[in-house]
Point group: C2
Chain length 302, copies 2
DNA sequence: CATGTTCGATACTATATTGGTATCAAAGAG
DNA sequence: CTCTTTGATACCAATATAGTATCGAACATG
C-alpha cells in the first residue's frame, strides 16, 4: 500500500467516477481501475460495490478514504516542512559573537537575515573567542562571529571585515586638532594599553605596530575593554591605538585620529564546523558577508 | 514521495548504516543508496551529510525521519483497521426482528455471532414486517428477521427455520390427554383465532389448514398475539392452531398436541438488500443459518 | 423494442521503475 | 602500508505501471 495507490483510491471516491478520477489524476482510466482492483486484492477487502453500473463505496472503503486523506495530507505537510527546513527557510540557528561585534557588523547581519529568513529562529549568544571554538566543536553554536586566529582544523571561516585602527589622544593633546597622525609621532607618549589578559589579540597587534615603528611603547595604564581605554585616554592618562569601534561612544575629552601608517585592520570572521553543510549556516554566512561588505567604520576621521 | 521510500529512509536513519538497513529491508545496498539519493533529489534537500565515510543525519533528515515514522505507523494502522472492517471482524450491524424470534432463533443467533465476532457492534430492533422491509430498503437496518412473504425485488432472503404448528386445547378437553390430534378432529370445536389484522400470516395459514381439512372453523374469539391466544385456550374459550412458540410459556390449563396432518411450518427468514455484499451481512446470515439449523422447537409433544 | 451511449473491465504492448551483481574509490584500522 | 569497511557507480534483469483498443453490461432515448 503506497501513497500513489491511496491518491488514486481517494480520487475515485472523491469523484465518484473512474473516468473523472483518472482525468483529475492525469492518467488513463484502465490503469486506475487496475490499481483499485490491486488495492482491494492486497487488502483482501471489497472497497467499492460494483453491483450495478455505478459503484457504491463500502464501509471499509469509506474508512480507507478517511485514513487515506489524512495520510496524504500528512505526507504533503511533511514534504513541505522538510523542504522548508532543508532550504533554510525555517529552523533554528545559534550564533556566538564577541563583544565588539554589536558595535560593528552584528546589527546589520541580524537585520538582513531576519528580513531574508523571517521564519528562522535566531539565537544570539555573547561568548569569548575560546568558548566559541569549544561550542562550535560541540555543536552548541552553529556559527561564531569572532577574531582570528583560531586553531581548530575542524572549523572553517570566512573574513567579514577588518576594523581599522585609530589613534586616540586627549582633547588637550597637541595632536588633538589634526585628523591624522603616524604611529611614530606617538613614540614618546604614555600609552593606555589593552591588557594582554583581557584583549590579547589587540594587545599583540598594538605592540607589534609600535615595534614596527621602531619603539617599545611606554605603558601608563592597562585596561581590559575598549570603552575603558577610551575613557582613560579622555581623562588624559595617555594615548592609545584602538579599533575604530571607539567612535561608537561619545566619550568626552577624546579625539580620534586616522593613522597614516595604515596598519592592517583587525579581522572579524564567521566560523562554522567544516562538516556542517547546513543550508541555514550557508545562508547565514552568505548574508554575513553581504552585510560586512556594506559595513563602513562610522565617523572615521581623515 | 511514496511510503516505500520513507520506509527505506527510515531504516537507514534507524540503523545508521546503509548495509544493515538494506539487510533489514531485505534488499541489496546499492538500490537503497539510489533510493535515498533520489529522495534527496526530489526534495531538493540534503538529508544525510556524507562528508566522511560515516554519514550524519541533517536537521531536515531528522525531521523527515520523525514524520516518516508517524506516516508509516498511520498507514499500517489504517491498513489493519480497513482489513478488520472489511473482513467483518469489526463494524456495526443493525438487525431487525419480529416479536416471535426472541422465543425461537434470535437468542441462538446473537450468542453465536457475539462469540464469533466479539468486536462487531450489534444493534437489535424489534420491528413489524412492513417496517423492516422499508428499513432494509433505506439501509436503516442491515438484516431483517421476519416471516415471508416479502414483495420487494431489491431484497434477498434465506429461510432459517420453519416453526411447526401445534394444536392447543384446554386441559379439561377430551383430547387433552393425547399427544397428537388431526385438524379434522377439531372441526366441531370453537376456535380461538389469530386476528387477520394483528397476525395476518398466521391467520391465513390457520384458515387454510382448516379448509384443507374440509371445514370452516367456528370462531369463538379473536386474539392478536400468541400469548393471548394461549391464555384464552387455557381459559377454556376454545381450541387453537398455533406456532410451537407457545410452549415457551407456562400457561395453566393449556395442553399442546402435535398435529398428525403435519402442516408445513411457519417460515422465518433472514432478509437483506440484494446489493449489500457487506461481509458483516454475509457473516451474520451465515451464523443465522447455523444457529437455525441447530434450533429445535422445545418441549414438542409427540 | 431497438439503438446508442456511458462506464468500468479486460487484453495486449510499451515504458518506467526497481532490484541485483560486480566493482570502484575513499576512509579508517591494524 | 595494506587490508577492511562503506557508500557510490555501472550495467543488466525483473517487475510494475501506463497507454491503446476493445468489450460487455446497464441505462437512456427515440
Amino acid at each position: 500500500m503506497d501513497l500513489r495507490t491511496l491518491r488514486y483510491f481517494s480520487a475515485v471516491v472523491r469523484e465518484g467516477h473512474f473516468g473523472r478520477a483518472a482525468a483529475s489524476l492525469g492518467i488513463a482510466q484502465p490503469p486506475l481501475s487496475r490499481q483499485i482492483q490491486k488495492l482491494e486484492r492486497e487488502l483482501g477487502v471489497v472497497l467499492l460495490n460494483r453491483s450495478q453500473k455505478k459503484f457504491e463505496v463500502t464501509q471499509a472503503g469509506l474508512l480507507l478514504y478517511e485514513r487515506a486523506r489524512r495520510l496524504l495530507d500528512g505526507a504533503e505537510q511533511a514534504e513541505a516542512d522538510v523542504r522548508r527546513l532543508g532550504t533554510g527557510e525555517t529552523g533554528r540557528l545559534v550564533i556566538g559573537f564577541v563583544r565588539s561585534t554589536p558595535f560593528t557588523i552584528l546589527p546589520g547581519i541580524v537585520v538582513r537575515f531576519r528580513a531574508a529568513y523571517p521564519d528562522v529562529e535566531l539565537e544570539l549568544r555573547e561568548m569569548r573567542n575560546p568558548d566559541q571554538v569549544k561550542c562550535l566543536e560541540n555543536g552548541i553554536i552553529d556559527v561564531g562571529l569572532l577574531r582570528p586566529p583560531i586553531s581548530s582544523r575542524a572549523l572553517q571561516m570566512v573574513t567579514l571585515i577588518r576594523e581599522p585602527f585609530l589613534a586616540l589622544v586627549p582633547a588637550n593633546h597637541p595632536l588633538a586638532d589634526r585628523s591624522t597622525t603616524s604611529i611614530r609621532q606617538l613614540m614618546t607618549e604614555p600609552f593606555v594599553m589593552y591588557s594582554r589578559a583581557g584583549s590579547p589579540l589587540i594587545h599583540a597587534r598594538v605592540m607589534e605596530m609600535c615595534r614596527r615603528s621602531g619603539f617599545e611603547p611606554r605603558i601608563a595604564q592597562y585596561a581590559d575593554q575598549i570603552h575603558t581605554v577610551a575613557s582613560f585616554v579622555g581623562a588624559g592618562l595617555g594615548v592609545a591605538l584602538s579599533p575604530s569601534t571607539v567612535t561608537s561612544f561619545n566619550m568626552p575629552g577624546l579625539r580620534c585620529l586616522a593613522i597614516s601608517d595604515k596598519p592592517a585592520g583587525l579581522p572579524v570572521v564567521a566560523v562554522w564546523r567544516t562538516g556542517n553543510a547546513s543550508v541555514l549556516v550557508r545562508n547565514f554566512t552568505r548574508i554575513a558577508r553581504e552585510a560586512a561588505s556594506a559595513w563602513r567604520p562610522q565617523d572615521l576621521p581623515g
